[in-house]
């Protein structure tokens, strides 16, 4: 893929609109290299590190889904643990019926997507804060319903009955690779979703819901789509949880702690950017590992950091980094290149970007920006 491949034809002579300031091919190549390195990890790291990495995959998948909900669709759900729990229980139920737990994962994810439809119907009548608590009540209700099935271990949970026997090292490596695959698919899905029509609709709704509605954007169905996708993603993460623990317990699976972790990871990393959850998950893992001998302290610190970040640096750590580096690993918006900007750079070549995109004036500046990121409240709309 070359830079010209992402160029959008413009009617105005001399202007050019691209996805990224840099050649997208580099991002793609970088992603492949990073995935390859991560895929090689099971050969070089020990079991403890591998478990931490799998946990990181779970949190990153959850965080990118929560980011999609809260950062792009404006749906602050505090009940996403319902899908973690359902995903884990789907794996358990399928595993009881002799299905391999790895095969069960995609089925569990799809099952969570289907379950998300009636759940959405129940909570969609409520707005913002009341939506948040309603999802929480839903999660509590679903947990109570699951507790009633003795065949699924009732209130105490049970171990997966049909786990592969034999080589545990290979099993752990398989778990890791499945986790990596889930995470990559989740990130790719979010990225592609936001690049396309859905991303455009979400941006329109976020900026002005009434205006978007009057332009024919179907607000309800777009939000529902996001809720279902987030249900699938969180379900896959829950299935991954069941696979890595090889057992399912209702309390931990439906714990609101999952939502706390995903929400705080997103807020710390940067709400409304695809890169934010990745950075936030890294911060989360570092905090958790550093404070692991102090019980609940990591959640206290994580919560405090999230409060401070959301009040002081609204765009999170990635926002701070972006202010200085102007890097976008996952470009979902557009760059507008004015003729003078193109001339300064040499026509048609998008090599290394020049710093200081805020230096240009509104008109006649070197280049403006038409990106789909947060335009309201952010300082960098060129």
């Amino acid at each position: 893929m070359t830079a010209t491949g992402t160029t959008v034809r413009s009617d105005i002579e001399g202007f050019r609109v691209t996805r990224s300031r840099r050649n997208v091919a580099w991002t793609g190549a970088g992603a492949v290299v990073v995935i390859a390195i991560f895929a090689y990890f099971p050969y070089i790291i020990d079991t403890g590190t591998r478990d931490i990495m799998v946990q990181g995959f779970i949190v990153l998948t959850l965080a990118s889904m929560w980011n999609l909900l809260a950062g792009y669709a404006g749906l602050v759900s505090v009940g996403q643990q319902v899908f973690v729990g359902l995903g884990a229980y789907f794996v358990l139920a399928l595993n009881i019926h002799n299905l391999s737990m790895f095969t069960a994962l995609p089925i569990a994810a799809v099952g969570c997507g289907i379950a998300a439809v009636p759940l959405w119907w129940l909570v969609s009548r409520l707005r913002s804060g009341y939506f948040a608590i309603a999802t929480w009540v839903l999660a509590a209700t679903v947990e109570l319903v699951i507790d009633r099935f003795p065949s699924l271990g009732s209130g105490t949970g049970m171990a997966l009955p049909n786990t592969p026997t034999g080589n545990t090292t290979l099993l752990e490596a398989d778990t890791y690779w499945i986790g990596l695959a889930v995470t990559v698919v989740a990130l790719a899905t979010v990225y592609l979703l936001l690049r396309g029509r859905v991303g455009l609709r979400l941006t329109a709704i976020r900026d002005d819901e009434v205006a978007a509605r009057s332009c024919g954007v179907r607000v309800g169905s777009t939000r529902m789509l996001v809720f279902v996708v987030a249900g699938i993603g969180c379900g896959a993460a829950g299935a991954l949880l069941a696979i890595s623990q090889q057992s399912v317990q209702p309390g931990p699976a439906f714990s609101v702690q999952w939502t706390a972790e995903m929400a705080f990871a997103v807020v710390i990393g940067g709400l409304g950017t695809i890169e934010g959850p990745i950075l936030g998950t890294a911060v989360f893992l570092i905090l958790q590992q550093t404070l692991s001998s102090y019980n609940a302290w990591y959640l206290i610190v994580l919560g405090l950091v999230a409060i401070v970040v959301v009040l002081v640096a609204r765009r999170g750590l990635w926002g701070l980094a972006d202010d200085y580096l102007h890097v976008r690993l996952f470009p979902v918006g557009y760059w507008l290149w004015t003729p003078s900007a193109l001339a300064a750079r040499g026509r048609g070549r998008f090599g290394g970007g020049r710093r200081g995109r805020r230096s240009g004036g509104r008109r006649g500046g070197r280049h403006g920006q038409l990106r789909g990121g947060r335009s309201r409240g952010s300082k960098d709309t060129g």
């Binding site: 404006g74 505090v78 129940l122 948040a132 009540v137 706390a260 609940a296 959640l299 919560g303 009040l311």
Partner: protein
Amino acid sequence: MDWVNAVIQGVLVGGLYALFACGLSLMFGVMKVVNLAHGDLAVIGGYLAVGVIAVTHVPVLLSFLVVVPLMAILGYVLQRTVIQAALNRSVLTTLIVTFGLSVVIENGLLQFVNANSHSLGTGNAIITDSFQIGSQIQIAYLDLLIFAVAVVVLLGLQYFLSRAKYGRLIRAVADDREAAQLSGVDYRHVFGIAAALAFSTAALAGIAYGMYSQFAPTTGTDTILLFAFAAVVIGGLGSLWGTLVGGVVLGVAQLVGSQINSSDGLLAGYIVFLAVLVVRPQGLVARRAQS
């Protein structure tokens, strides 16, 4: 007769749920803040009462005289600092901040107090005694007392908001913040007072719950916040009487549910909540202004 008993007990415990809910309603009504930390603040109230009683040996029924002012101050300070800062940004920020507070409080209590359950006033005759009607129905004095407190608090709030001078100020700010500001009202101070009121009711709810049952750090979210919210939705948003009705309906649903099967109480309450959400999303007591 068991069923009558279940309904009577449900009505009484409904008063407690309405007490849970009124602080949540008040903060949403005045400053449009959905305080996800509401339940944890009530639990803080309960722990403060435990501490106050241990230190000063005041009678358990009078512990609120110390705890409520403390919580009111906490409410004013939190509102003027963190919550106001979040309000100045966006609705999403207030949700994240109050959710953060909730997680920090809950885990802080786990860390500094411990995960054990506490209760208030065991051994106090007024709290543990009950009287009988007929041979089947037994009513605890405490349940009656809590119900009475809930009704008094709701009546008092209603009267305060509709008649008192400061109540009118609060309503004015809730209706139109800019206009109130133009008339010389410092809306931040009014918000602080409203938060202090809300936190006071949360403290009362925490103490009442500590006497009624026992609380642990996780009680704040899995019981108080969720029940409070269910009561608000069942009764109808923005109506204090609706909140009382919602609390009573939730309480009756839970106790009748337990009567059917001892482990079904919670689920029955939530099913009624979901049913109301589906059939009558505006709540059982819709606001008259809309009709």
